[in-house]
Symmetry: C2
Subunit: 337 residues, 2 copies
């Protein structure tokens, strides 16, 4: 069994912890949290071992009757792999202590590529990561772009990829973030970071991205314009995406015309927290004109990187093939094929 700890229990950490606990070859040794909030209460109800980030949080856990098992260092002694799901930039600060304990580490997309030199998307570079000491699972938008672009590039040879990303401005629990009634350029200066970030995984792809923040809480919405070298039609594109792991096709004929509809579909599926691990591409938006492929896709920002985190754990351990790991992760998470 691979012994795993999760440092940080926010948007990503709590989902990774749940996913680990579903794996037949992994044991969740514990989670590290800062506050004794409702998320800590639910974690304890799930029998997750709770560790504190510092003395102050340890004290607050005792006061809340949460029976903490110790501090981050205590957890590190118990694990083979630690998943750092700390807020952006804090992972890099934590790296010193991980090195001190000589642990394998997974960082998230809020950290810089340079921290580990290895940016990871399972289908693209699982084998490169095998047996490595650490890696970075790229952010939600980058993960989605890599899945789709890697598949289309292998099938049709991408000449250039252009994407405009309408980002959800806040997650559903982020009550202090805006905007309420504006489109915010994110950032004004071009390109957005997503294009260069895709190139940390797929360095040969010519990509340029633009990004906006819009007043929604569910999903990022990508408008894609991809020029390819091979001659293709709409059905070719659909066939390739159908055969790509962690990509699903949705259709307005079934009533899915917005990000809200996709999330309501995920609620119907009965997933925990209505998480959609798959990129959702609108099949009936796919249009090919000459060498250009156009389509829309939705990305559930809270969930899409969860399967990549599970595969990343197996990649670092080094004893699994890419196909074995992806298959097992997909099965345990109920990912639609």
């Amino acid at each position: 069994m691979i012994r795993v700890g999760v440092n940080g229990y926010g948007v990503i950490g709590r989902r990774v912890a749940d996913a680990i606990s579903l794996q037949p070859d992994m044991v969740l040794e514990g989670i590290v949290k800062v506050k004794a909030d409702y998320k800590a209460l639910v974690a304890v109800k799930k029998n997750y071992n709770l560790y504190a980030i510092d003395e102050k949080s340890l004290k607050s856990f005792f006061e809340a009757g949460l029976n903490p098992k110790g501090m981050l260092k205590d957890l590190l002694r118990e694990v083979d792999v630690i998943v750092d799901a700390s807020p952006e930039g804090i992972g890099a600060q934590n790296n010193r202590i991980y090195k001190e304990f000589d642990k394998k580490v997974i960082f998230e997309g809020g950290e810089e590529h340079e921290l580990t030199g290895l940016s990871f998307v399972a289908q693209c570079n699982f084998d490169v990561a095998k047996g490595k000491k650490s890696l970075r699972v790229v952010s939600c938008n980058t993960t989605a772009l890599c899945r789709v672009l890697d598949a289309l590039d292998k099938a049709f040879k991408i000449k250039r990829a252009r994407a405009v990303i309408a980002r959800r401005a806040a997650d559903p629990d982020e009550i202090s973030k805006g905007p309420i009634d504006a489109v915010v350029l994110d950032p004004v200066n071009l390109p957005s970071h997503h294009g260069p970030d895709v190139q940390t995984v797929l360095p040969h792809i010519d990509i340029f991205t633009m990004a906006l923040k819009v007043p929604t809480t569910h999903m990022h919405l990508h408008s894609l314009i991809i020029s390819v070298r091979e001659k293709v039609n709409e059905d070719d594109v659909i066939d390739v995406l159908k055969g790509t792991t962690r990509v699903i096709l949705v259709n307005s004929k079934n009533g899915i015309k917005s990000t809200a509809h996709i999330m309501d579909f995920a609620r119907e599926l009965g997933r925990i927290r209505y998480d959609l691990y798959e990129v959702a591409v609108w099949a009936d938006s796919i249009r090919v004109v000459e060498d250009e492929i156009y389509f829309y896709m939705g990305v559930h920002q809270e969930a899409i990187v969860i399967p990549e985190n599970i595969d990343a754990i197996r990649a670092l351990i080094g004893k699994y093939s890419k196909e074995e790991s992806i298959k097992l992760t997909n099965k345990t998470l109920g990912i639609i094929q």
Copy 2:
């Protein structure tokens, strides 16, 4: 003096009426309205002659003490040009009565191109419209795209233009429209109508557009990807846009980073209803990579077509040059050069 009537007093009609009343060579003979609402009250306070669309509305105007001057037919007897600012599709129905009275007519972008066979943007085809019987002022997004693409095409020869339009979902007074928390594909099937609509004015431009509805009330936000034949850099693009009428450059260095900031800027300018007649291009978003120009621009959906309506009136009358008309319209509306 050109005698003008305005049929319809919603988003566009009330703005066109105000703009007509500012012209030294025009007289607003009256407006046609359906309801005795607050907009009717304000119109009467402005001493606009109020006409009713039917017997029922005539009665309601009398009951509200609004002293209506008559019905649409009574207004038509008094005018040289009628501007039809009815809801989408109603203009086409009204065309029969305009023909009966043998009047020159301006329709708005909600009507089909085929209704008049002439889709109008002042800077692009004023001369084509000179002396014609009727024309259609294209919609807000199409107007904005035509202004910018016409200028860039004349300067650099456009190879292909691609645009993703994040549309405001509702105007500020439209309290029943959604979405609240979703990005809606508008429509799912590609392309959106904007590309073909641009080609009704600029048939030679290779354009493909995608469009989303987002939960905002101010401005449409365009992400543009334009490939050109001439070799250009960022400064060349800025110079061309600076020299283009009804296009202004904004900059995040001055604190303008979102559509809300542009609208607040328009409020500072003291414009009636904070109307921005100009397309606002973010100067510091302009980026050129090889043959592609990228930038963002904001379009005030309620206001941008107002100067085109005024120029369209003069074009139909046929006694003005394009330059004379645009100059006079810009001056009277306080458009920034």
